[in-house]
Symmetry: C2
């Protein structure tokens, strides 16, 4: 059994707990929280909730500690720190800062003889893997990544900061025409606006100026100004009833040429359609927690990304079973 | 530079030659053939063509020998033999015999300290990888593989053996309705007939009985009897003009559930649309030849499949570049 600890019990932590239930070779050993443990109710029977500060004292009870904090401030500190005591997995997703995060975490993990897997999930994660495989196979070609249809937490937060807005949710939606052109191997040059649209469902405060809210959202720099953005006003009841989920997904497509004169075209496409972004991310992380446990058992150490991990490490089946059943 | 040798110069061998041209870190060192080398005209300037029997004498000039023979009789003998002298890559695709092939090749490769990568291509190969990743992520779910639209060599050969047939080509086509149901997360149970249809383009010999040909094809056991099969009669000119290519492709889909009560659905889909089946297969093989070269340099040995090879080995970029640009 692989003994898992969860650090941080929000949507992602709860997703990890659910994923462990689906993997018979894993057991949830403890949940750690910065809140008062008395106030945290988890789903699994007979598993303790401890203060985050107690984690290090329990290092011998846990094979892999999964870090469920945020990328902005939590993980840059936590991953390198906990990698001193545990094999760890995180979902650090600030793409531009991955090289720095890798170096920091690698230092801790190498010195302490642990495996630390960073940036696990679907983007970075499964989408990154598909970019790499497709580029390795088709060196002459173009990459396209589309996100959605799905909820963007950052854009939903931005809407809620607009004056007169009580609540809101934002969906990122790939433009079908752009997708079709890419799939057709037309290798289009696509602007930001041509790739995605943004759809907002907004609950206004009583008496708010709806035109002003719409204008402010649509013209918001960085978040909405470069996109075609639709704003719908709805009631809080409608928002809660119809927009309570956290769906997401997207498409990674590479189109490329082969042949002596590059006369043949090929399209490689990977897509995800997810009812729950955090639960799917958690499911990817659970598989990489298994890999971390096995790589440590194989005498490996240091920081790893999805690029560094042989696929067989992820699956509960033996190598013989994999070859017989999946190859 | 990775010095590549090609054993066997048919469609796949020519595809490897084209792929090497697209990868600046590779050079074609020699082509080996069972034909008279004088009769084999390759595309690359100033690269020698030798007799197959001469390959072993040239082992020090070649880093990776790519075996382009067939799975029925060539590769079961060749891969284990050449793995004694070379790092090798093959595209052995008789799924049921992979475990036996692996064991034979592994013995040679371990004893002689080489890397031998078997069963590389898209199925087995990229499709296998996607089955594995998706199963590791979503342990509770269903797998679906659809092939096509594409030319099946085996079925085209079967058509050509029918009395009264001069020439012919067979396309395997996924049933759109079945694909849509799978993508919708409906987890259908699909019979063979419900997944694929078969479309045949047949050139009859002069005076042949067309109804008899149609009936014989449609009722042919193993090949056509279990499918809805359409037969079109065309002229040799039409066949040559419109059906000269070797396109293929397909879809690997896993739909699965997550959540404490498996209340959320997810669909993972990987698809390929290929103008040239052998050139795409060759492009995958070229990437795994790079991996074989690097794994050998890292002191590894033995038989490997796509499951055993960390993705970063495939790509010409350094690990630092991959993390900065692809993660």
């Amino acid at each position: 059994m692989i003994r898992i600890g969860i650090m941080g019990y929000g949507n992602l932590g709860r997703g990890i707990e659910c994923a462990i239930k689906q993997n018979p070779d894993m057991e949830l050993k403890a949940v750690f929280t910065r809140r008062d443990p008395e106030t945290v109710q988890i789903l699994t029977d007979n598993v303790p909730v401890y203060r985050a500060a107690d984690a290090i004292n329990r290092k011998d009870e846990i094979d892999v500690l999964i870090l469920c904090g945020g990328s902005a401030t939590d993980l840059p500190e936590q991953t390198k720190e906990y990698a001193k005591y545990f094999n760890v997995v995180d979902s650090f997703d600030t793409h531009a800062k991955i090289p720095e995060h890798f170096d920091n975490v690698n230092k801790s993990a190498v010195e302490s003889d642990h495996i630390a897997v960073i940036s696990v999930g679907w983007d970075p994660g499964m989408f990154s893997l598909n970019r790499l495989y497709a580029n390795a196979i088709l060196p002459s070609g173009n990459d396209y990544t589309f996100w959605g249809k799905g909820v963007s937490q950052g854009h939903s937060d931005a809407i809620r900061r607009v004056e007169g807005v009580q609540d809101g949710k934002q969906y990122t939606i790939p433009v079908e025409k752009a997708l079709a052109s890419v799939r057709n191997g037309e290798n289009p040059q696509l602007s930001v606006r041509e790739k995605h649209t943004r759809e907002c469902f907004v609950v206004p405060k009583p008496g708010a100026d709806l035109d002003k809210i719409t204008k402010e959202i649509q013209e918001m720099p960085n978040y909405f100004a470069d996109y075609d953005t639709t704003v719908h006003f709805i009631t809080q009841e409608e928002l809660d009833r119809n927009h309570g989920g956290i769906p997401h997904g997207g498409f990674v497509i590479r189109s490329g040429k082969t042949g002596w004169n590059e006369e043949n075209s090929h399209v490689i496409e990977y897509s995800l359609k997810l009812d729950s972004n955090p639960e799917f991310t958690a499911s990817v992380i659970a598989a990489y927690a298994r890999a971390a446990f096995r790589m440590k058992a194989d005498g490996l150490k240091g920081c790893k990304t999805v690029f560094d991990i042989a696929p067989a490490y992820l699956c509960a089946m033996s190598n013989e079973q994999l070859r017989a059943q999946m190859l």
